[in-house]
């Protein structure tokens, strides 16, 4: 009996989620159906090769978007993640090519430097009232600068099969980044939905003052979330560097914006306190599939940006119309 009610409750939750995100789920389906049916893309879109290709391309943005979802629900923003990609990538590549360290150590170093920047963000943001926008704007520049200083501005190459495994390798027929992406998504979903920390993130983002009265350690929550976001960016950095055979100081430029786009398209409010990781997944899929579709259609990259911007606006607009309707 008890199990039944829980089951029912969880299926209700799924229904509620679908209903809430009808707009963007619809947009995603329309996009997929269009690409599958349209003559110019019907042959190439729905192939398993292309689908895994899309998922692999999405993975970098998805790592960032996982951290960004938490940060935005907390009521903040993390602009430093794009630069962390570069710093993490060049450091990991440098560990191999300059210091001859084992690849595993190099990869861990890449993730750790992400953690360090994230911890620094978290420390300043939790201990002061300086807005997260400013703090992470500063660390964005610092991290990007350090990546350029370390490399002198040119890529650090690593051309070994082992190095490529994490970014371009396969387990069976599934690309490694896709597996990593699924693991990260599960961890993020667990934190957000199943832990006390998750509830506390929603509470602090919803009303920080009330959270203080609730006895929630607000600074610890802020610290954790920014550190998590840093780790995610570090992970994205090593995956990208692995796929590109090199750590590039210009990698991930503007990546923070794609992550923010995925989060807001996914229905998370920039005001904080509400949002779901499920929405972010759909948001990242929309942006990723759109990029892929435009490539298949041979649309030039300048126009791709224009189309992407319009789609972001459209997706958020659907949400807006739906919300104002349900309120009136």
């Amino acid at each position: 009996m008890a199990q039944e009610t829980t089951k029912k409750a969880s299926s209700n939750k799924v229904m509620a989620f679908l209903k809430e995100n009808m707009g963007i789920i619809g947009a995603l389906l329309v996009l997929c159906v269009f690409l599958a049916v349209f003559p110019a893309t019907s042959g190439s879109f729905l192939t398993s090769k292309n689908i895994f290709n899309v998922l692999r391309q999405i993975s970098t943005n998805m790592f960032l978007a996982c951290g960004m979802t938490m940060v935005i629900i907390l009521g903040g923003i993390d602009l430093s993640v794009g630069s962390i990609i570069a710093l993490s990538g060049v450091l990991a590549a440098g560990c191999v090519s300059r210091y001859n360290l084992p690849i595993a150590i190099a990869l861990i170093a890449g993730v750790l430097i992400g953690l360090v920047i994230g911890v620094f963000n978290g420390f300043v943001i939790s201990q002061t009232t300086i807005p997260p926008f400013i703090v992470t704007l500063a660390t964005m520049n610092i991290a990007r600068g350090l990546a350029k200083v370390y490399t002198g501005g040119s890529p650090v190459r690593v051309v070994t099969k082992e190095w490529q495994f994490i970014g371009a390798g396969y387990v069976g027929f599934v690309p490694v980044p896709v597996i990593l992406m699924i693991i990260v998504l599960i961890i993020t979903a667990l934190i957000m939905n199943k832990t006390k920390m998750g509830r506390h993130i929603y509470a602090v983002g919803g009303n920080a003052q009330a959270a203080v009265f609730s006895g929630i350690k607000v600074s610890r929550v802020k610290f954790f979330v920014h550190a998590f976001s840093g780790v995610m960016a570090g992970l994205a950095g090593i995956v990208l560097a692995s796929r590109m055979y090199s750590g590039q100081p210009t990698a991930g430029e503007g990546a923070e914006m794609d992550a923010i786009a995925a989060v807001v398209v996914g229905g998370t409010s920039m005001a904080g306190g509400s949002g779901k990781i499920g929405g972010t997944i759909i948001g990242a899929l929309i942006i990723g599939i759109l990029n892929n579709g435009l490539n298949l259609l041979n649309v030039n990259s300048f126009w791709q940006d224009v189309v992407k911007g319009i789609v972001i606006l459209l997706a958020v607009f659907i949400d807006y119309v739906k919300n104002t309707k349900s309120k009136a």
Partner: protein, 486 residues
Amino acid sequence: MEHIHKRFPGVYALNDVSYELRAGEVHALLGENGAGKSTLIKVLGGIYHPEEGNIYIEGKQVSINGVRDAQKCGVAIIHQELVLVPYMTVAENIFLGREHGSGILINRKKMTEEAQALLDAQEIHIKADTLIKDLTIAQQQMVEIVKAISYNSKILVMDEPTSSISDKEVAFLFQTMRKLTAKGVGIVYISHKMSELEEICDRVTIMRDGQYVGTEVVKETTKDELIAMMVGRELTNYYTRDYQQPGETLLKCEHISDGNMVQDASFELNKGEIIGFAGLVGAGRSEAMKCIFGLTKGFQGDVYVKGQKASIHSPIDALKYGIALVPEDRKLEGLYHVQSVRFNSTIEVLNQFIHGVSVDGKKEVDITQKYIDMMSTKTPTQEQAIGNLSGGNQQKVMIGRWLATDPDILILDEPTRGVDVGAKSEIYSIMNQLVKEGMSIIMISSELPEIINMSDRVYVMAEGRVAGCLDHTEVTQEAIMQLAAN
């Protein structure tokens, strides 16, 4: 306003409501939360458009289709939440949207002078070039009033203007209101405080469940009659309180100081007792409680719980000693607005159903339901966003949230502020039930009748000190005010 109808999906918000305001009168609009007062006001202010009904101003039928229309018709509304721009000056706020000047350039000097003239005319001692953020709430209200006057408004609507200002400021507000009515301005006055009606209002219109109940002349009616009209039944036991012999001393606070608002305050609380804290706004009552609840870092003084010296540095420590605090400002310090009733009910007791990464969903639902039932909270579902509930139901969820921690000592800071009469009475009866079952309650309140009728003993604070303690057998409004004002 005659025969106004307004329907929302699923709700008949206004059903044939009529309301008449004469020039120069203060006409109260009374009703529980959800009675339709705000909707009626929004119709008048042009925010909602009614499906049926007509509005007449000075005998002429008018059609109000927007905020601008309302302003043109001489209607000005002062909302409960003040809507001034904090980083602009008083003058800039008064003339917001119709700045003086030629072309795109603003004539700041002329604007400031004119604003100052308006302020002086009302004998309001505020400089027109002050930033709004540097004013007190009461002063900001005065700016709103001056802004309304500057539109040559004939009809002024005030939505709970006294809910967050001190008695002294209320007196000044009433003075200003009388000056306006003497000039023929009609004032629509919304308030939950019955005592204010007698003082300032000429007539009162009562609404219930979106319907018009009646209009009375204030002087010819009694408080009990009005309450009966509001709730639709006689509230025979508005206050429920069965006094009992208190048990041993549970909480003893000695020489509490926070270096600012609280100076050397000492008091004690016995088991099974309600103690009231009375005093003027700013007397340090809330601040003293914040010390005990661990919200004030580095306060001085000693707190003893059950005879043991307690070391409290955070709310988590306080909860360990069985102390819970329902904060004063629900919106600011309590609610997670966009989250559900369930989220809001259980945020204090996550330990009871979240272990690692496993959530016992059934237990979460059960805990929420237990306190919904106990407080008789009205909510369609547990998933309902708490921001959509009425003030009274929000407050019930807040109290339930802290009761879920199973405290021995419950601190209620203004437990009935912004709560309608029916829910107030229910909250009193729950408080009575709780102390009967052995809980001890500290209640801070600025409503003297509530303090007098509910407390075993009343501590009166003034300027951060405990000015005196009165037993419930000897407590009167006069005795409290005398101590509070010393």
